[in-house]
Symmetry: C2
């Protein structure tokens, strides 16, 4: 185990060491997307989400035009990558309170774009419960221990773990959920928990444009036994059709049809 010491009481130090509040409290938010052929796919949607998150989490120092300039330069040299943009606070003052002189910092993480998983996904129920907080619901913030623990319940790369709030299914460990019940596509309400994913938004817009019946609604655990098709969405995977829910097979053709309409890139 590596042990590091940050010493803010050493009298010879001036200024005091800066505290990174993302690692202290998860005080920040992020977005994850794809760079393909030197383009940041759906950049405007990602920027809109960063702005919304900043407003709700009281980040006053987010400079999107500076970020846009830096990305332009960076992305032009990249053929293909996964990109994560994290925004966090740093300050010298300890404790939860946001200092008047808190600074906003941005970290861009570039990784190899993960290979697309198998053509279909198997949904299992996670034992880990989803964190619930109407003040934070919808935001892709850095408080994601529930997703970390749910992801640890997945035993193969073709599985995704469904997370529940009481009797309601909310999402997968790293995805939003759509299910087809009585011919209507349903996706869970996210007013108490979950993340408003960018592919989820794109899918809802497409369903709307194509006049395909859908509803944003409560989906109960027992509803899943009557679902005849399902898919999950994620910015890196796009639409991932579901083959089975807790070992019960569902139809793939309806989900494959939606996947053709909402492409990943």
């Amino acid at each position: 185990m590596h042990i590091a010491v940050i010493n803010q009481i050493d009298k010879d130090q001036n200024p005091l060491p800066t505290l990174e509040r993302a690692s202290l409290f998860g005080d920040g938010f992020f977005t994850t997307g794809i760079i393909q052929d030197s383009q940041f796919c759906h950049q405007q949607r990602h920027f809109k989400r960063l702005r919304m998150s900043a407003d709700r989490l009281l980040f006053t120092g987010l400079d999107l035009s500076q970020l846009q300039d830096r990305l332009k330069q960076l992305v032009s040299q990249i053929e293909s990558a996964a990109i994560r943009i994290s925004i966090a606070r740093q300050q010298q003052q300890r404790g939860y309170a946001i200092a008047a002189d808190a600074k906003t910092v941005c970290t861009i993480l570039l990784s190899k774009l993960p290979a697309l998983p198998c053509d279909y996904c198997q949904l299992i129920d996670a034992k880990t419960v989803i964190s619930c907080n109407p003040t934070l619901a919808g935001i892709k913030h850095i408080n994601r221990l529930d997703s970390v623990l749910a992801a640890s319940e997945i035993s193969s790369i073709n599985q995704e773990a469904l997370m529940y709030h009481g009797d309601l299914v909310i999402c997968g460990s790293k995805s939003n959920l759509f299910v087809r019940l009585n011919g209507v596509w349903l996706t869970p309400k996210l007013s108490n928990c979950g993340i408003e994913g960018i592919t989820r938004d794109r899918t809802i817009e497409m369903l709307n444009q194509q006049n395909i019946q859908y509803s944003i609604s409560d989906i109960h655990r027992s509803d899943l036994t009557d679902v005849d098709a399902a898919f999950v969405t994620n910015s890196l995977t796009g639409i991932w059709p579901v083959k089975s829910i807790n070992d019960r097979l569902v139809k793939l053709e309806n989900s494959n049809y939606i996947r053709k309409l909402v492409t990943r890139i």
Copy 2:
């Protein structure tokens, strides 16, 4: 705004940069205490809490004997300080899943011990709702955006903001709560949210030893109007008597009596 880039796709890099999961996902936990006269106060309780947190959050690499040795050496040179011990995971692999080769890292933050606030505290209701998750309840983990936002609602150093889960009061933004109702001290159940604080535990043990009537129970918002005394607890402040709850004055003498029995150090 400072912008940093972590590049995991640069082919010349070997090994890949390590990802700090505390800042990516809040994937870690911590404890905060006092060093006084070269002693880490209540060290065994802090260690017990770190071990419990590690077990529940699937941290297999926590080495408490190594930490104890490092602390012994460090603390011997310090007259007085606030100490925070953070435990987090790092790995090269991106995504929520915990990699088989994930490493446990420990960061010790030493700060000036904050001056004790005013002798009494004024409680106000936070608008920020507390995060609720039975899987994570009780743990002092790093997912603390709710406390950050609640702390931002405090307008003077003598205030503490009460956080609610629906109709139930759970705790303060940085403290546990005790209230006296009909002659019995009550402290909220923490089975769905909140942190099991070390001063809270010490207070419960003392109430038990002294045969002072108490109960760990649901406390409703409306109960607070009938409370005749209250205090909040925190490892750095100890017991902090409450003078008012949403501007309604309560008696200080009962809380001051408890403070004499549960000293800060």
